[in-house]
Amino acid sequence: MTLRNLIHGTDLATRRNFLGGLAKGALGVSTAATFGNHAIAQALNAGNLTLGQDPQDPQPTLGRATAKHVIFLFMRGGMSHIDTFDPKPGKETGGPTAAINTRADGVQLGHYLPKLADQADKICVVNSMTSKQGAHEQAQYVMRTSYEMRGTIRHASLGAWHHRMAGRLNPTLPGHVVVGGGADLPSAGYFPPQYQALPIGSADAGLQNATLPRGVSEDRFLRRLKRLSKLNDAFAERHQHRGVKAYDDAYDDAVRLMRSSDLAAFDIGLESETIRAAYGNTQLGRGCLLARRLVENGVRFVEVMGGGWDTHSDNFDRLDDLCPPLDQAIAALLADLHARGLLHETLVVLATEFGRTPDIDPDNGRNHYPKAFSAMLAGGGVRGGMRYGKTDKEGREVEDGAVTIQDFNATIAFAAGIPTDHVVMSPSGRPFKVADRGDAVTEIFA
């Protein structure tokens, strides 16, 4: 009796249970509560399980989340918490930074962020971030993946998780886009390559090489594609590997996108002058504007990178340069999303890899400080006009409601409905969760 007969000999319902149970046991999906073995069984029954496809791809049941999209503003370099979201006026550690009142009672910001202060009714400031990692690359890695950097594995970034768990909303556009990055792109890690982010180097230039080259007609392009697939098919036939398939899929996706009207989502030139000016003609401003356009068109996760926050010297002068573009961009983003009715379904995150030392150097610098720092969340069901957690009077220690980076990422996942206990096995058989062992801070949701 072959396995096939064994399976087909049973009636449908039992077969499903059997396969579901098999997937649970054999694939190591132990927390099937959120996964729904029904879904696995269905996928297996439907004969979808071909080589190159990941058996864990059937999506887990998502929670009832209001955030369909995430815009993650990543301030690289380590943003000084005391000068931005956790001002300590009158204390020596506070430096010359003044605290300004905002539109929300009980939320004060550093004086570098006056425009964001006008939108504070929409934001939740998290003052109790804490981590143990004080080196840029490693800390950024933890912020993006929730795991410590290891030599033996590349972890999947939060954007890749969101893309994979929630799936694309717009079948033509990529699920996950990174704007303004350099070489240090977040990675899909051990996920299949289709969950890799689409990088957009400069928001102004939009998506490059998305039109046919000069002199190449549609017809000629088609012939080229055909020839390409002729060359590839034999190889793909011989080497049935998910990497090969992903490569082919990437081509298909790109061609579909080239022909789609959704391509316009990448063009911030289509925005009115008023809107462009409101976001500010800066790298961050343009990045935020592009992020809004992408989200409007169904992209799940957009990371906008900002940089230069590593203010080891001249901290205060540097903040004079760094903060206004951020202030402008994020205030415009929040106001714009709100007016368009998108803020409810879009979680806006502002985060950085660590804070900066409360003690000020002789040359007015602040150094790396992971022990206590701040982040900001808005929209996506998060209550506005509030602060969560606090540091002591000098901004040195978290006094209340400590939030680790894992907790923070779990909170983002929670907002997006991604089950934080869903285990995905890496190809090497290691179990991973979206936010490692982080616990979501649920108190901040309305």
Partner: protein, 368 residues
């Protein structure tokens, strides 16, 4: 063959529990189940509280088992899925192998539950998870009081749901929040609602609409059409007729629909969220929405709607938010809607920041 040998024990493993359960005696939650939970689970799994050292204690893994509301609200998947113990987290984690790192209670908190106990819990869930009169609320009333007091300390800001206008609420308002927390309409509306058949759902695979559950295995549906907006016009909405009674969230942003779409949308009695921004829908189409009594949010940004259409929304008593930026709607009409539906927020304008003095053009700003 090797695979087969491997599979057979697995098969028996899956089939065994199915045969073993057929006990019939009704389990009494308060008398038989609660004592187990109270003794073995509640220490870690109770509503947030402040311990004697003033530290905030959250329920482990966000699972609360001390109140009925807590058991039901878990976002971590179904803690108790009535009638289906095998898919209930509560049961699943107590029958894991003793050396599994996810077993509950965890090994450092003592022995696993006995077979009698786990079987009892299984039987209770399989019988429909009847809680009898138990709600657990008496205890939690005290706890919630404490939590809110603590919240005032942590969440310094205002805790109001509607973050629209200036926050006038004082710290006091936060104490009221646990009381007014509204049960999600998605939960109440899905009660006794049979899911749409798999065949019907499958028939949408080729349609320009994407249809999926609103989440949490809820039979209510979310319908979007990103990337297909050119293909969707008034006629296309007819495709949604077979699932009209199940649609809770409908996103038709930037599609080709007009006033005529109103009639099709009006046939969706459980519609909670409607997004028709940047379409040609106008007064007549919006006026038809007066029939969707469950609507909470309507996004009319950039549509042709005016005062007449907005007025028709005045009888939607659940309405929380309407977006009418870049429409003809006047401030007076918005005011009248606010009078008709207390608590509704009408978003009329974008509160955009003033442009930067130098519009960010100069690379470096002047130094002091």
């Amino acid at each position: 063959m090797l695979r087969l040998t491997l599979l057979i024990p697995l098969l028996t493993l899956c089939a065994a529990p199915a045969l073993a359960q057929k006990a019939t005696k009704k389990v009494d939650f308060a008398k038989q189940i609660w004592p187990i939970l109270e003794k073995r689970c509640i220490d870690c799994h109770k509503a947030p509280y402040v311990d004697k050292n003033g530290r905030k204690r959250k329920p482990k893994g966000r699972v609360e088992l001390d109140t009925l509301a807590g058991i039901k609200k878990s976002k971590r998947g179904k803690v108790v899925k009535a009638g289906d113990a095998d898919n209930s987290l509560l049961y699943e984690v107590i029958v894991l192998p003793a050396d599994d790192e996810d077993i509950m209670p965890p090994s450092k908190k003592g022995k696993p539950l006995s077979k009698t106990q786990t079987d009892l819990i299984k039987r209770w869930i399989d019988q429909g998870a009847n809680y009898g009169k138990w709600t657990g609320e008496k205890k939690s009333a005290k706890k919630t009081g404490k939590t809110t007091g603590k919240d005032k300390k942590t969440g310094t800001g205002d805790a109001k749901k509607n973050s629209g206008g200036g926050n006038s609420g004082s710290g006091k308002s936060s104490s009221g929040k646990s009381g007014k927390a509204e049960v999600s309409p998605l939960l109440t509306l899905s009660k006794r609602l049979k899911p749409v058949s798999q065949e019907t759902l499958a028939s949408f695979a080729k349609s320009p609409f994407r249809v999926r559950s609103v989440g949490d295995d809820n039979p209510l549906l979310q319908v979007t059409c990103y990337g297909q907006t050119d293909a969707i016009d008034d006629a296309a909405l007819e495709e949604l007729a077979p699932i009209a009674s199940h649609i809770a969230e409908l996103n038709l942003a930037a599609t080709q629909i007009t006033d005529k779409a109103g009639a099709a949308i009006a046939r969706m009695p459980r519609l909670v969220t409607l997004d028709v921004r940047q379409t040609e829908i106008g007064n007549h189409g919006v006026a038809a929405l007066g029939k969707c009594k469950e609507l909470r949010r309507i996004n009319l940004y950039g549509t042709k709607v005016g005062d007449y259409g907005l007025a028709a929304l005045g009888n939607l008593s659940h309405l929380r938010k309407v977006h009418v930026w870049q429409t003809e709607v006047s401030a007076n009409a918005a005011l009248r809607l606010r009078e008709a539906v207390p608590g509704v927020e009408v978003v009329m304008a974008a509160d955009l920041p003033e442009p930067m003095a130098d519009n960010g053009n100069s690379g470096r700003r002047r130094r002091r």
